[in-house]
Symmetry: C2
Subunit: 111 residues, 2 copies
Amino acid sequence: MSLLPLPVTSADRESCEATYVLRRVGEKWSVLILVILGEGPMGFNELDRTVEGLSRRILTRTLRGLESDGLISRTPAADRMEYALTDSGQSLLPLIVALGEWAIEHARHRR
Amino acid sequence: MSLLPLPVTSADRESCEATYVLRRVGEKWSVLILVILGEGPMGFNELDRTVEGLSRRILTRTLRGLESDGLISRTPAADRMEYALTDSGQSLLPLIVALGEWAIEHARHRR
DNA sequence: CTGTATCCTAGCGGATACTG
DNA sequence: CAGTATCCGCTAGGATACAG
């Protein structure tokens, strides 16, 4: 039995819900932000200071992307913006962590 | 207890084995190719015909990428090239499928 | 059958400076 | 504190044509 309809058409791809999550996961900082927020909500500047090498511009865009996918929430708190995982984001986290652990177990042989 | 060292430095990121897999998974066709090869080895043209909307150029690059990550093998067979999942690729597949299933369960609310 | 060569576009990622 | 405005380089993705 087959997981996929073969041949795979463009329409199949467009209709596939999986692609957008995969793209998001492939972004440079998204997963890191998700893992960090997995340890608790944070403000914008707190995130900015926590992740070295990430500019505010990119942080903003990354947060917006995660928010538009419903993975994190963005709520104004007293004197700061607070970012936190949504239930959706919470439920995705273990899968991402599993991917990370897989990668660590399988030493890369590239290059 | 924390999964991460906080703050996260650039060096932490560079040393993290997870990133390259995440990037690969985020590529447009990689996961699809992995899933297809999960059903059995295939030749180049077979793949080309199976996946509609994927040019030979991009197919070549995708295959090379997966190969350089050790996820698929590329062996000359009688009158064709044969691509197949490696053990490494086999072991990654369930995690990818899990991600796909997660995405299907959680209807996107974007846009 | 299995690619390569060329050329092009869009978008990610980033540096730097400015804003309410 | 939480962003925006500009500008810029790199590369993923693709169209099209050619090659051994």
